[in-house]
């Protein structure tokens, strides 16, 4: 789960990482009130889960409540890389001397956290990596050791942090790593990490991603999920604990097992169709679960046909067939469903479906045949 800047900063502050004082605002009036409360110069920042806010006009430094209101007026509703601004973060402006960059990412290839540090902060780190690779210090931290003083020294030495700054920067690196571990983060990025005129440090931006699997032990970050911003199908799937990803085609896809569903998406495309989604119903075969899944797929109005692809292992195909038929009792289906049942008790399952003779169901034996049929039905329905 990605966090907004202000949410990440809330977790930063909890960990003792210095951030500027600020307030969230959803309206122009709230923005004005925030600027009044904070006093002096403030920064009005679009809160969207994407980069490039500055270039897109999503960040404005203003000198008082009136200007803050005007800036909020301009930024609320602003589209930044397809993300509509619906909330703002109003924070005290600070006097920046230099901008660094620090991050920790979960490097799955190395199976270790990867820390990065550069004195070329404020810009896109990919650009630093590409144009000035020698200026970007990278360091893997062995989780069996955790982040130690020598890791900080090594990183700061490689990044060229002056010796007299190392105590302060090193302490902040330890805090950033601490947040990464304490919050079960997959990413913590501070860009820029600023050195103020008075020499103190401050996290001027925050980018964090939390491991969804660990949210059970983080009540505070769980509560940060922005339900309103989520795609309605994705939100419904999330609530039903189903893995769903929206694509932009018209063939709805359901199946059991992530790999098989990904593969089904591929074969639909290979058959000339355009997949509308990825949906893994998992191992169960209950009518209720199948009904929920079908409902989510069909709530996407673009869907013209549905491909239901099951390879029965532990799950028996006859049970799936019964579940599907039960689901059809309670669910109005507005598009044809192609069902492919293979594996355990597939013959029995197909017989059940054929005997039921539901007009919305077409039964196929193989994955490739099923994909071809679903693609043809979607094309016919256009």
């Amino acid at each position: 789960m990605d966090l907004y800047e202000h949410q990440g900063k809330e977790l930063f502050a909890k960990a003792g990482i210095p951030v500027a004082a600020g307030r969230v605002a959803f309206t122009v009036a709230e923005a004005r009130a925030a600027a009044e409360a904070l006093g002096g110069r403030v920064v009005v920042k679009s809160q969207v889960l994407t980069g490039g806010r500055g270039k897109a006009g999503g960040v404005k430094v203003v000198s008082g409540p009136d200007e803050a209101a005007a800036a909020a007026e301009a930024i609320l509703g602003l589209d930044i890389n397809g993300h509509i601004t619906r909330r703002l973060w109003i924070e005290e402006a600070v006097a920046i001397d230099r901008e660094y960059y620090a991050s920790v990412t979960f490097d799955r290839a190395a199976k270790m956290p990867l820390m990065m540090l550069t004195t070329m902060g404020g810009m896109d780190v990919e650009a630093v990596a590409r144009d000035h690779p020698d200026r970007l210090a990278r360091l893997h931290v062995d989780p069996a050791l955790g982040f130690r003083g020598f890791h900080a020294v090594q990183l700061m030495s490689a990044a060229g942090i002056p010796v007299d700054e190392r105590k302060a920067v090193g302490a902040m690196l330890a805090q950033i790593y601490g947040v990464f571990v304490a919050e079960d983060a997959m990413l913590v990025e501070v860009n820029p990490l600023v050195i103020l005129d008075d020499g103190t440090l401050l996290a001027a931006d925050s980018k964090m991603t939390i491991d969804d699997n660990a949210l059970f032990r983080h009540a505070d970050s769980s509560a940060m999920r922005d339900v309103a911003a989520a795609d309605p199908q994705e939100q419904a799937a999330h609530e039903a604990d189903l893995a769903y990803v929206k694509l932009d085609g018209d063939v709805g896809i359901l199946g059991n097992g992530a790999g098989l569903v990904m593969s089904t998406v591929d074969v639909v495309a290979q058959a000339g169709g355009r997949p509308a989604n990825f949906l893994d119903v998992g191992g169960g075969a209950s009518a209720e679960k199948i009904a929920t899944a079908l409902g989510i797929v069909l709530s996407d109005e673009k869907v013209k046909s549905v491909l239901f692809n099951i390879f029965g292992g532990i799950t028996r195909c006859d049970e799936v067939a019964k579940g599907l038929l039960g689901a059809l009792e309670t669910t109005a289906v507005r598009a044809p469903i192609v069902v492919r049942l293979d594996g355990t008790n597939d013959v029995e399952g197909r017989e059940l479906l054929e005997r039921a003779a539901r007009p919305e169901i077409t039964v196929e034996k193989t994955m490739l045949e099923a994909a071809a049929t679903a693609v043809r039905l979607a094309r016919e329905a256009r």
Binding site: F106, R108, A109, K111, M112, P113, E126, D142, P143, A144, V181, D184, M186, D211, D212, N213, A214, F216, R217, A243, V245, L247, G255, N256, G257, A258, G259, L260, V261, M262, S263, V265, D266, V267, V268, A269, Q270, P275, F278, D280, F311, G312, G313, I314, D342, G343, T344, T366, M367, L368
Partner: protein, 291 residues
């Protein structure tokens, strides 16, 4: 001799008194796996249809001679269950549990790996050596014995390919489900090395998917030291960037982890890659027939 699931396996099922634990422990035993013990704290002295239950894995090792563990416990307890097995001297740990926090698995990985303990999974279907032993939730009836070592990040996709191979009369030495999580104990490379050393394996099929770079790393190792023929299949050519496709590990980050890049890396090392399970099975059948 097969790998992981063998005649020498003496299995303890952690979480045996849970619904899933009981079901799969009995299913594995019915298949012929030597299930010697179960563990549920506080339930020592009970038994699950004759399988003795202990309070701890240490007791299962000391009193029932367990050498392999199957972990079927809820995600918030799974990492500690794996560590318990490792601490108790278990040599191979197969973890089925899905949804274990990634940081928990980092700790587990860096504990078991330096100590030479094999961990398979988590979020994996286990290992099946047809006709010998089944550890985990792989539906054995889909597979038959044969010369093909099959390693996969995906469960049902493995069954799909196993089914297609079986339909062509081809069977497997061992099927290894390595799991779909970002941090897994046994990588493609580990599985390739196991199959390379296994007398019962003549061909290797590798089923990958988007996310990470394990397939690319495996391609390099295949070129370097795997002499047995390898065929691959990769899922997720149509997956969008930045979206988790069901498995926690199946996500394309930036330009890294695409199916196309994996296919290219494998083909560059001479590994044929099918673009769907049927095509992959056909390539394998041709290869076997050509021998």
């Amino acid at each position: 001799m097969a790998v992981i699931a063998t005649k020498d396996t003496r299995l303890v099922v952690q979480g045996i008194t849970g619904r899933e634990g009981t079901f799969h422990a009995l299913r594995n035993r019915d298949y012929g796996t030597n299930v010697v013990a179960g563990v549920t704290p506080g339930r020592a002295g009970q038994n699950v249809e004759g399988i003795p239950v202990f309070d701890s894995v240490a007791d299962a090792v000391a009193k029932a001679g367990a050498n392999t563990s199957l972990v079927i416990v809820p995600p918030r307890f799974a990492a500690e269950a794996i560590l318990e097995a490792a601490d108790a001297g278990i040599e191979q740990i197969i973890c089925i549990t899905e949804g274990i926090p990634a940081h928990d698995m980092l700790e587990v990985y860096h504990y078991v790996r330096p100590r030479g303990i094999r961990l398979l999974g988590p979020n994996c279907p286990g290992a099946l050596s047809p006709g010998i032993a089944n550890i985990g939730i792989i539906p054995a009836q889909v597979f038959k014995p044969g010369p093909i070592g099959l390693v996969s990040r995906s469960g049902t996709l493995t069954y799909q390919i196993g089914g297609e191979l079986a339909a062509k009369g081809l069977g497997n030495s061992t099927i290894i489900g390595i799991g779909g999580d970002p941090v897994i104990g046994t990588s493609f490379i580990d599985a390739l090395d196991l199959f390379q050393a296994d007398d019962d394996t003549e061909f290797i099929v590798m089923v990958g998917e988007i996310g990470g770079s394990d397939e690319e790393a495996a391609a390099a190792v295949i070129a370097e030291r795997i002499t047995k023929p390898v065929v691959a299949y990769i899922a997720g050519f149509e997956a969008p960037v930045g979206k988790t496709m069901g498995h926690a590990g199946a996500i394309i980050s930036g330009t890294a982890g695409t199916a196309a890049a994996k296919k290219e890396a494998l083909e560059a090392r001479g590994v044929p890659v099918g673009t769907n399970p049927t095509e992959a099975a056909r390539i394998v059948a041709e290869l076997v027939a050509g021998r």
